[in-house]
């Protein structure tokens, strides 16, 4: 190796170490990605914010909670939406990569267990739901309904909704192989609507006229039962940032947390923080 080559390499090495790296994003632009559960909140708040602030440029996309947190760690989004808490693995990975994951709670939610409106069953217990999803209960007649096979619909294993359901209902027990694993709340609700013997679970914001929510341990998911902690499959919804929100991310999250933003949360069927 000649001396000039060596000097050039060392100079380049030093330049890289002391090089001040500046980010060049626009001050009014904001990128959000992640949970499909949080997606309607993020979208409606983005639209309302941009209507009030025409200079703002907010892009929102889904992908799932894992995608939201992975993108915050990678630095490719400003806000990562998640319907679960960050895992220890993600926290360690973020810290090692210089990212301080800060969880901003923006709403409350319940995971509602839903069935087709034609189904006569209206009440289940956590143990019964676990029995259905683990395969030990396979016909509605065993639960007081008509004799028809249960069609199990679940979220894909990378979704935050699945993680919370798995923790609070399944306790780590495997979901039966025959379950349909769908990629979004919307896909689950649509499948339940179209399949008479089906059971699924969605964020409370996706409860509507086309599907029927059932009580769990005698409690129907609602604002009241979530806030008083009586409904057993409740959770908080989050917008993760790298460090405390700053700039455009802070303005946007402040808006989500404002009375106007919290009204949008409730308009979308979720439960506000207060």
């Amino acid at each position: 190796m000649n001396k000039i080559s060596r000097i050039l390499i060392i100079a380049a090495l030093l330049t890289m170490v002391i090089f001040p790296a500046f980010a060049g994003k626009g001050a009014n632009s904001l990128t959000i990605a992640g949970s499909t559960t949080v997606l309607p909140i993020a979208q409606s708040c983005a639209e309302a914010y941009m209507n009030a602030h025409p200079e703002a440029d907010i892009s929102v996309r889904g992908g799932g909670s894992s995608v939201g947190i992975a993108n915050i760690i990678a630095g490719t989004v400003d806000i990562g939406d998640a319907s679960r808490h960050a895992k220890t693995k993600e926290i360690v990975q973020a810290r090692a990569q210089g990212v301080n994951l800060v969880e901003n709670v923006v709403a409350n939610d319940a995971i509602a267990v839903i069935v087709n409106p034609s189904n006569s069953v209206s009440a289940l217990t956590i143990d019964q739901v676990k029995g259905i999803y683990s395969g030990s209960i396979s016909n509605w007649k065993d639960l007081g309904g008509e004799s028809q096979p249960i069609v199990i619909v679940s979220r894909d294993v990378s979704s935050g909704t699945f993680e919370v359901f798995n923790e609070k209902v399944m306790g780590g027990t495997q979901v039966v192989d025959s379950a349909l694993m769908l990629a979004s709340n919307n896909a689950v609700a649509t499948t339940i609507k179209d399949t008479p013997g089906a059971i699924g679970y969605v964020g409370i914001g996706y409860l509507g006229n086309n599907v029927k929510g059932v009580t769990i341990n005698g409690v129907m998911p609602s604002k009241e039962t979530v806030l008083n902690k009586k409904y057993p499959i409740a959770r908080t919804l989050h917008m993760y940032t790298n460090g405390r929100p700053r700039g455009m991310a802070k303005k946007y999250i402040d808006f989500v947390l404002s009375p106007a933003g919290q009204k949008l949360v409730e308009d979308n069927g979720f439960i506000g923080l207060n």
Binding site: I9, V17, F22, N71, T76, V92, Q97, G98
Partner: protein
């Protein structure tokens, strides 16, 4: 070859049937290599190769049990040859196969966030288990033969509270994934590995391996102790600075030999600065094959390697992991013994990766 293919097909069928969900992925490396020794008129190597590829199955049996099966394949007989190492050809000897991973993870059975792993698994030494081949050259622990990237054994991995780090404890054969059955020494290797992230953007830690290998000539066990110290600094935006110190001591009777290596690797991400998804990588390695021998005398195998590289990412997946990218590296190998000619090498590599899930 036919038996291997049948074996692979059987594995795929069994895994797909038995698991709730299986992720399939493949990654392939197409490479051009140009190597020249200082003072030579012609290149000693100038050619294309399919340097490495793998087919990976990751079955998820339940929320707590998952596995990984990795079949590596390559078109070069000498695909394991190091940069700068003498090789007489890059001729295509046909496809080679080797099993790189075959393990099961059992999570949260022992305690929260702890994973018990059994099978042909990662070796948690230095940075060999977390390397993403940021340079085309291998991780220093692998390159300088401190450790094989995978080995047969079992171990426990987990996280320190509050995300302050990770730990690994493992027992291995100690001889890497290439040796099995009657070829392996009966002594086990014991590994401890710890990473601490005391503050956001700073990671420090180390690994220790204690091993013994029976030496037939001496009719005694050779004691092998390996240590790695690692540090990673990511506090400045877009800069990722990694450093590693490796040492291996081999003791047989009264004789003792120590091998050392140091590697420093800064990387700068240009995406924010230029809107081009690209990173610059520099790596400086110092390798001393015998710490008790002067580096500049005949017989010394000590050398430095400088690598300057660019990684250009053409496509990424939804989690920002690269799917299609080009790596270009220029490396210079400088022997400490002045009479030995230095070597330069240019490598350009196209890597592409794809995956899917079967339910």
């Amino acid at each position: 070859m036919r038996k291997r293919v049948i074996f692979l097909v059987l594995i795929i069928m069994l895994v797909s049937i038995a698991s709730a969900e299986t992720k399939l992925s493949m990654e392939l490396w197409n490479r051009w290599t140009y190597k020249i020794v200082d003072g030579a008129d012609d290149a000693s190597t100038n050619g294309f190769s399919f340097n490495r590829g793998y087919f990976r199955l990751e079955p998820v049996f339940s929320g707590n049990i998952k596995g990984r099966f990795n079949l590596d394949f390559f078109s070069r007989e000498d695909s394991e040859v190091e940069i700068g190492e003498e090789t007489d050809s890059i001729s295509n000897e046909g496809a080679g196969l080797k099993i790189k991973y075959a393990y099961l993870d059992f999570s949260n059975y022992l305690w929260k966030d702890a994973t018990f792993t059994f099978g042909l698994m990662k070796t948690y030494f230095g940075t060999i288990y977390s390397s993403e081949y940021e340079t085309i050259d291998k991780d220093p622990a692998d390159k300088y033969k401190f450790s094989a990237s995978t080995d047969y054994g079992f171990g426990i991995s987990g996280y320190l509270p509050q995300g302050f780090g990770t730990y690994n404890v493992a027992v291995y054969n100690g001889e890497g994934y290439k040796k099995t059955g009657g070829n392996i020494d009966t002594n086990m290797a014991y590994l401890l590995n710890l990473r601490i992230v005391p503050v956001v953007g700073l990671e420090v830690g180390g690994s220790y391996v204690m091993d013994k290998v029976y030496n037939e000539d001496a009719d005694d066990d050779k004691e092998i102790n390996k240590m790695a110290g690692v540090a990673r600094f990511t506090m400045l935006p877009n800069l990722d600075l990694r450093a590693q110190y490796l040492t291996r001591t081999e003791k047989l009777g009264d004789s003792e030999k120590t091998v050392n290596a140091i590697s420093i690797m800064p990387m700068i991400n240009l995406a924010d600065l230029t809107n081009i998804d690209m990173e610059l990588v520099l790596r400086y390695d110092m390798y001393d094959d015998d710490a008790d021998l002067d580096d500049d005398v005949e017989g010394s195998g000590a050398y430095d390697t400088m690598i300057a590289g660019v990684n250009y990412f053409m496509m990424r997946d939804s989690k920002n992991a690269p799917k299609l990218w080009v790596q270009a590296n220029y490396s210079m190998k400088n022997y400490k013994y002045e009479e030995k000619d230095d070597e330069s090498e240019m490598l350009v590599q196209l890597r592409w990766k794809f995956s899917g899930v079967i339910d």
